[in-house]
């Protein structure tokens, strides 16, 4: 069964893009989003993040940060991340602003806050298509290492789901199996388009 997947984190930079990249390479139909109000990248200090609007191309961020302080952003892995991102898609997208992107079957989120945002947004949309959407949350810490792990897990999970005709009957088993195997908590909910 060919499902459409969405990977969602808060800034559509690290976790969701890692997963997006992986899933894309595995040939899955995937998109990625962020639910935050802005795209935030670390700046020279805690209180000076680099803030961008969603839709600002990764390339632009990349160039800008490289101009600003190549050393710093190389050291904290931002440049590498942006480089990866710009090879995946053009720009970060905001989940709430892209309802027009069509119908997804499965949404993976990587943070409870994001999960809640997605569900709330889905609930606020008009639900007339009678089309189920599975929203799952996998807690992944927002750093490069964890994102890589989270991405792999997401891929595994999606492939598992992909193997089913309809996930509605099997999702409990999939989730239970996943939790048992990886000792990670997975919550999900179901919403409608």
């Amino acid at each position: 069964m060919k499902f459409r997947y969405a990977m969602v984190c808060s800034s559509n930079q690290n976790r969701s893009m890692e997963a997006h990249n992986l899933l894309k390479r595995q040939g899955l139909d995937v998109a990625s989003y962020g639910t935050g109000s802005h795209v935030k990248l670390p700046g020279p200090s805690l209180r000076e993040p680099n803030v961008y609007d969603f839709g600002t191309p990764y390339k632009q961020m990349f160039d800008e940060l490289r101009r600003k302080d190549p050393e710093l952003y190389k050291r904290n892995g931002i440049l590498q991340m942006l480089k990866r991102n710009l090879s995946v898609k053009l720009a970060p997208q905001r989940w709430q602003d892209n309802a027009g992107d069509g119908v997804f079957d499965v949404v993976m989120t990587f943070e409870e806050k994001v999960f809640d945002s997605v569900l709330e947004d889905l609930n606020n949309r008009e639900q007339s298509l009678m089309k189920t959407i599975l929203v799952m949350n996998l807690e992944v810490k927002d750093n490069h290492e964890e994102a890589a792990i989270g991405g792999r897990l997401a891929l595994e999970l999606c492939q598992e789901i992909e193997g089913n005709e309809s996930w509605e009957d099997t999702i409990d088993d999939i989730v239970a199996g996943f939790e048992k195997q990886h000792r990670r908590k997975l919550v999900y909910s179901i919403s409608f388009y």
Binding site: L46, E120, K131, T132
Partner: protein, 1436 residues
């Protein structure tokens, strides 16, 4: 034209459909169908009916995907052409049963679309005509059927995916069938279709029936979640059910009462497990949260229970969030920005009422001014707020509407609402909410009877009773209570008005304020006008409402809903008329509405200083405010009725505020607020540039930093630390607060409480880094953390002596040690070369410091235990011995005993141990470079390469280093730790043995170097014995080393001896391993292994001999010297497998030790030996040697010889030869013994040693001797003519005739009378001369006293004889023996030449030794001769 187009497209469509049908593959089918669909969508003309059958056929296609797609197309067609529904729907119904869930789902989706559109069409048509289109009617009938089918799917077991869709459909159906309370008739879009447009008299649809059906369906949904049924559901179904129900509850709040009890009673944990519970819990949580957001009055009574349930679900974890959310929704529907967020936080701490009202006020203002949401939303929001706890707003808005409607009832409602709230401020519990709710419903009149019933039915009897009781308060006992209510109203209006003032500059407001306080009389004058203004205010708000095109009906509805009151309150006129007289009671309001009061006052208080800058007179006002607030707070504790009096006191001030509002009202806004709101508005906003902000912040920071003295005295340093840490984290990095802080800390670490401050800062940063809020900020914090800690640590290192504990303490207390800090620690413990150069003196202490820090970290910080251990271990193989020893001491003595790292330490040590073997032994050639590389690497890790040395020079140096010493030290470097561990755990020692075999020489050397110390430390423990008992092959040398060490100094234990014995017997035949214990072995054992020792090379035998003889201090020598000799002699070469040469060697060794093997010893040995039967093989040789070494023994020897004669020594050919030699060497004393021989033997002897003949004959010819000799003997000697025998002899031994002749000539010399028949040659004369010399010599010396004399006498005859022989050779070449003895001759000549000198000397040591050597040489010669003879004999 159109027709052509139509026909064209029709044909085309049909073509597509049929080709799709005929296609056998899935992709082309789908492709054609997609084309078909596109064409259909584009074509607006009448639908080609012919197409339907084709499509219907496709509905039974073999591919699920095709069926699904066709169902979708049919759905679209149905939407577009309602008249076709009766044909399409039955097929779709059939599709519901499709085996592919996707098809069924698609059918449901189509059903939902079709149903809603048909319903709308039916409804709308019914509005306009009393009869319906027949076609539509039949379509509707089909749709009803379709609907029922789908609904039945929702309530029966089946494919989950289908069921979920069906449930969703039911949800949609319920929503369709019930009026949308917030909906409006205006909206025409399908989404906004509202069943409430139906009026009575619709031909088909009856809103009541529909509601009943909706209720039924809802009931069915709910039933599924009730206890027994829910068990059989899977979690997706439960989630969807819960979500659907919540969605219904949200859209149709009237059902809240029905839905929420079920949801609340749903305890997933009871009947669900694992994932199910988690998923369901989550769904419930979401639902509850969203219900909390629901603003409909019907939802209100459930809020507390919802919060409670959430608490249960989350165990209190998320309740805060829930409450937060609740407030947020109450306050604003849009995204709340951070400003509001902070507001909420503040408000939460105070009174919830205050919070909501404050927010509300802002929000309201915004909605009025800027909200583009439509009216119903606004109204809805308002009603929601009212329903909860916001009397002020409700009062105001009703007031506003009131003005428009000129309707008395709402006004009353509003007043009482105000009152009820003012009463119930301190009690905002569910009861109060319910009262409000009832009020709202009742105010709705008959319409709301249904909802009212639901509400009543859904609350418990107790709660209902409470509601009634609570409501009793609302019944006005007297007028004053109304006054309260209206006060509330006034207040509220002011509040609202004040909001409109936000835009006014603060200075203006301040000015007004000062004016009013400056002229209280005017204020008092103005005061009565307030009601008028109120009127204006009503108009104002009404205007607003108008502007927003607030529909009249809705307005009524809204007010009705919101107004909380009993309908039984008829006194509306009174409500309005109460206004004027009570205005001056404003002060009272403060006390009655503490929330508002306190918030207002707070603002005043906080901003008072600022306003005072703007206008000095303001201070007065502010202070008055404070008074007021104070009294207000006091009043809170007093009953409301009493507060009346109190408020009177403040009436002047209240009047003042009244004037205030009047003045401000000149700006067209009515409700210029009472003064306690104003200061809040006048908050000054000073725009600072970023630079100025930074400057300020920096100043602040520096000031706190510098304030340490005062603070340390006053005792607030903890707070200061926290403050600094927090500020540091908050400040932008350009200010570099950390640097400032570091400088401060390091300027005087101790007195500035540097440790505490540093740790505080570190914790703060670490918390920031770990907060997980945002990866990016945490990354920055982490790097700040690292650099801070590193900077402080480095500074501590550089500025404190190594003995100082600060650094260690800091590391121990830091929440986390990043890599760089561990590196620093490592550089302590394993310093590189340039460090040493720089801090030569401190180095050792540094290492100690580093190691002790590492030690404490290992013990106290499990998280970084491994890293620290690595450092310590690294240090144990440091190339500097000093450092290494320190580290090893730490690791072996302290760390190794910690059970959690024992294993790692062991492994590391073992790796190192093995590393010593593998690289060096296998790649001998590369070993040096390898080691060098290792070294360099080590250095590189810790320090940059040493630059002080020229690179080439360094290379030269290292390569030119002595390879062996490098390898030995290198091996020691790697081995030390292991050896240290061995002392702790003896069993480890076995690996040393096992690698020993493969170890290279340097490594072995290194091991040997360390073994003594190690083994001494270990002692002969049982583990060690076990290792010794079963040593790996190839480790013999090591074992011997170990044993030597073990037996040094002390008596070995019996176990050890036993072990070694056993080992010797079983495994290792090398007798050397016995050596160490030789002294301790019993005599028999020693004797038993003695032959083995004899078999060793001379040097080793010497060692063994000395051990045996030396023995142990306790038990004395294992063997006495005589025993040793006897043991040697008792060796049978054949039996023991030992070459005779070894045995003679052993003898020689013994004889060499003249101090041990003394004359007496030899005598007793010989004495013992001679008694043995058979005689030992070497007996004669020993005797010969003995007499050679100790000439004084000659008498004794002679005695022995004579005993041998009696033993018929000639029967033992080997000994016989020795006997003769012995006799020869002891002549002339031995003549006596020789003459005792029977004549044949004597003859044989003389034949063997012809040289004896002459002297013997001479000796025998002495008359007294000759007389005693038997004739036969004399005959042999030729003293008695016995021709027969001599002839026989001569004829027999022709070959030795020459010798005989010589002998004869010799004897001739001694006995002048003897005549030799042999013709004398020239040589004979010479011989005679020499013999004479010899004789004279021998005669001149006293016989038997001087050894040299003896030797002289011994050697000279032979030498003389030989020399004579050589001379003879020179003369006559016919002599066959000549060439062999040439060198011998010269030797003996030399010796004889030296003899005269020796003679002159007295009997002293040098001479003795000189003689000894010659003696030894002699004995060697003789033994050689012996062997030759033996060889000859063997040949025979």
């Amino acid at each position: 034209m159109v027709g052509i187009m139509a026909s064209y497209s029709r044909e085309r469509l049909e073509g597509l459909a049929s080709s799709a049908k005929s296609a056998t593959e899935l992709p082309p089918k789908l492709h054609r169908l997609r084309n078909l669909r596109r064409n259909l969508q584009g074509d607006a003309s009448v639908f080609p009916n012919e197409l339907l059958p084709l499509l219907f056929d496709l509905l039974s296609d073999q591919f699920g995907a095709v069926r699904k797609f066709v169902a979708e197309i049919l759905g679209e067609i149905g939407l577009k052409y309602v008249e076709l529904l009766p044909e399409i729907v039955p097929l779709l119904i059939k599709s519901l049963e499709d085996e592919t869930p996707a098809v069924a789902r698609q059918a449901i989706a189509c059903g939902a679309d079709l149903f809603s559109s048909t319903l709308e069409k039916v409804a709308v048509q019914g509005l306009h005509s009393s009869e319906l289109d027949e076609l539509l009617e039949s379509s509707w009938t089909w749709m009803i059927k379709f609907k029922d089918e789908i609904c039945s799917l929702a309530f029966k077991q089946g494919n989950s995916g289908v069921k979920l869709c069906a449930i969703k459909f039911v949800e949609a159906l319920i929503v369709f069938y019930t009026p949308d309370p917030s909906g409006s008739l205006e909206s025409s879009s399908r989404e906004d279709f509202n069943i409430s447009i139906l009026r009575g008299g619709h031909p088909i649809l009856n809103i009541g029936d529909l509601s009943i059906e909706a209720s039924q369906k809802l009931g069915l949904l709910l039933d599924q979640l009730r206890h027994p049924a829910a068990k059989s559901l899977n979690s997706p179904t439960i989630i969807v059910l819960i979500n659907s129900l919540s969605s219904v509850a949200k859209k149709r709040p009237a059902y809240c009462g029905k839905i929420l009890p079920v949801l609340l009673s749903l305890d997933p944990l009871i009947f669900l497990k694992g994932v199910h519970a988690a998923a369901a819990n989550l769904a419930l949580k979401t639902v509850f949260l969203s219900c909390l957001k629901c603003t409909h009055p019907a939802a209100a009574p459930w809020k507390d229970r919802l919060i409670g349930a959430l608490k249960e679900i989350e165990d209190g974890g998320r309740v805060d969030k829930a409450e937060d959310l609740f407030f947020k929704t109450n306050g604003s529907i849009q995204d709340n920005d951070s400003v509001e967020d902070t507001k909420f936080q503040v408000s939460k701490k105070e009174n919830p009422l205050c919070a909501s009202s404050v927010v509300e006020e802002r929000n309201f203002g915004r909605k009025r001014s800027g909200s583009d949401k439509n009216i119903d939303l606004n109204g809805d929001a308002l009603s929601g707020k009212r329903a909860r706890i916001t009397p002020s707003m409700s009062g105001e808005s009703t007031g506003g509407l009131n003005g428009d409607d000129v309707d008395s009832l709402p006004l009353v409602a509003s007043t009482s609402a105000g009152q009820s709230i003012s009463r119930g401020v301190s009690d905002t519990g569910p009861v109060q909410q319910l009262v409000a709710m009832f009020g709202a419903l009742v105010a709705q009149g008959e319409k709301a009877i249904g909802s009212l019933e639901i509400l009543i039915s859904s609350i418990s009897a107790d709660l209902l009773a409470d509601v009634v009781m609570a409501n009793m308060d609302n019944i006005p006992p007297n007028g004053s209570s109304y006054a309260d209510g209206t006060d509330g109203l006034v207040m509220n209006m002011c509040l609202v008005g004040s909001d409109a003032h936000i835009k006014y500059p603060p200075s203006f407001v301040a000015g007004v304020l000062s004016l009013s306080t400056a002229f209280p009389p005017i204020a008092a004058l103005i005061n009565p006008h307030i009601p008028k203004m109120k009127k204006e205010g009503e108009e104002f708000s009404a205007d607003h409402v108008d502007q927003q095109m607030f529909p009249a009906e809705d307005a009524v509805l809204a007010t009705g809903l919101s107004a909380s009151s009993d309908t039984s309150l008829p006194v509306n006129e009174e409500g309005t008329s109460v206004f004027p007289p009570n205005v001056h009671y404003i002060g009272n309001i403060e006390s009655d509405i503490p929330g508002l009061d306190s918030s207002g006052q707070h603002d005043v208080l906080s901003e008072a200083p600022i306003t005072s800058v703007l206008g000095s007179t303001n201070v007065e006002a502010a202070s008055k405010n404070q008074d007021a607030s104070f009294s207000g707070e006091l009043l809170l504790a007093v009953i409301p009725s009493v507060s009346m009096d109190k408020s009177e006191e403040f009436s002047p001030k209240a009047a003042g505020t009244g004037s205030n509002s009047l003045v401000s009202s000149t700006a067209t806004s009515i409700a210029s607020a009472p003064q306690f709101v104003l200061p809040k508005i006048s908050a000054p906003v000073v725009d600072l540039s970023d630079g100025e902000k930074d400057g300020l912040q920096k100043l602040v920071f520096l000031r706190i930093v510098e304030a340490y003295k005062q603070i340390s005295i006053s005792g607030g340093s903890q707070l200061r630390f926290s403050l600094l840490g927090h500020l540091g984290a908050e400040f932008p990095s350009e200010l570099d607060p950390w640097k400032i802080l570091q400088e401060h800390i390091l300027s005087d670490y101790l007195s500035h409480e540097g440790h505490e401050l540093t740790v505080r800062v570190l914790y703060r940063l670490h918390g920031e880094a770990e907060a997980e809020q945002d990866y990016f900020s945490s990354a920055t914090a982490a790097s700040a953390y690292e650099s801070f800690l590193l900077a402080v640590a480095e500074a501590l290192r550089d500025s404190f002596p190594p003995s100082d504990k600060s650094l260690s303490k800091l590391l121990g207390d830091s929440p986390f040690l990043p890599k760089s800090v561990l590196k620093l620690l490592e550089s302590f413990c394993c310093p590189g070369s340039d460090d040493i150069v720089q801090k030569n003196l401190q180095n050792g202490d540094r290492v100690t410091q580093g190691l002790s820090a590492v030690w404490s970290l290992i013990e106290t910080r499990p998280g970084i235990r491994n890293d620290c251990l690595k450092i310590a271990l690294q240090s144990t193989v440091h190339y500097l011995g000093e450092i290494r020893m320190k580290a090893i001491r730490l690791v072996a003595n302290r760390l190794y005993s910690l059970s959690y790292i024992t294993q790692q330490i062991e492994e590391f040590a073992k790796d190192k141990l093995l590393s010593v073997v593998s690289p060096i032994s296998s790649e001998r050639g590369d070993a040096e470079t390898l080691i060098e590389d290792c070294k360099k690497e080590d250095l590189d890790v810790e320090n940059p390469p040493n630059k002080s040395q020229p690179v080439s020079g360094a290379g030269m140096d290292t390569s030119s280093e002595a390879t062996s010493s490098t390898s030995v030290t290198e091996a020691q470097r790697c081995l030390s730790l292991y050896f240290a561990l061995c002392t702790k755990k003896h069993a480890l020692f076995v690996h040393v043995f096992s690698i020993y075999k493969d170890a290279s020489e340097p490594v072995k050397e290194a091991i040997h170097l360390q073994i003594p110390l190690l083994v001494r430390t270990m002692g002969s423990s049982s583990e060690l014995l076990r290792i010794i008992a079963d040593p790996p092959s190839g480790s013999e040398n090591l074992i011997i080393k170990v044993l030597q060490t073990l037996t040094e100094g002390s008596k070995p234990s019996s176990e050890l001896i036993h072990t070694i014995r056993k080992l010797f017997d079983t495994r290792i035949k090398d007798v050397e391993i016995i050596y160490p214990i030789l002294p301790f072995l019993p005599r028999d054992d020693v004797l038993r292994i003695f032959p083995h020792m004899v078999n060793l090379p001379t040097e080793k035998f010497q060692v063994a001999l000395s051990r045996v003889l030396q023995g142990s201090s306790q038990s004395g020598p294992a063997l006495s010297p005589s025993e040793v000799l006897i043991a040697i002699h008792s060796i049978d070469p054949a039996r023991d497998g030992i070459p005779i040469k070894q045995v003679t060697e052993a003898c020689n060794t013994c004889f060499a030790q003249r101090e041990t093997f003394t004359q007496q010893v030899l005598a007793s040995v010989l004495n013992q030996l001679v008694q043995q039967i058979p005689l030992p093989m070497l007996f004669m040789r020993t005797a010969l040697q003995a007499v050679g070494v100790f000439p004084a023994l000659s008498d004794f020897i002679l005695e022995i010889l004579s005993r041998l004669v009696s033993k018929q020594i000639w029967k033992y050919p080997k000994l016989w030869v020795g006997f003769l030699k012995c006799a020869q060497s002891t002549q002339p004393q031995s003549y006596k013994v020789l003459l005792q021989l029977p004549s044949p033997q004597l003859g044989n002897a003389l034949t063997k040693i012809p040289a004896l003949r002459a002297p013997l004959t001479a000796h025998a010819s002495q008359p007294e001797i000759q007389s005693s000799l038997p004739r036969s003997t004399l005959a042999v000697l030729g003293l008695v003519p016995d021709s027969q025998t001599s002839q026989v002899q001569a004829s027999e031994t022709q070959n030795i005739q020459v010798q005989q002749q010589e002998q004869a000539s010799e004897s001739q010399q001694t006995s002048q009378s003897q005549q030799v028949s042999v013709p004398l040659s020239h040589s004979e004369t010479d011989h005679q001369e020499t013999s004479q010399v010899v004789a004279s010599q021998s005669q001149s010396s006293p016989i038997g006293t001087c050894p040299s004399e003896t030797s002289q006498s011994q050697s000279s005859p032979i030498g003389a004889g030989q020399s004579e022989m050589s001379q003879a050779t020179q003369v006559s070449d016919s002599d066959p023996q000549a060439p062999t003895s040439h060198t011998q001759t010269s030797d003996s000549q030399v010796s004889s030449q030296t003899q005269p000198d020796d003679e002159k000397m007295d009997d002293d040591d040098t001479v003795t030794s000189e003689n000894e050597t010659t003696e030894v040489e002699k004995s060697k010669e003789s033994s050689a001769e012996e062997e030759e003879e033996e060889g000859e004999e063997e040949e025979e």
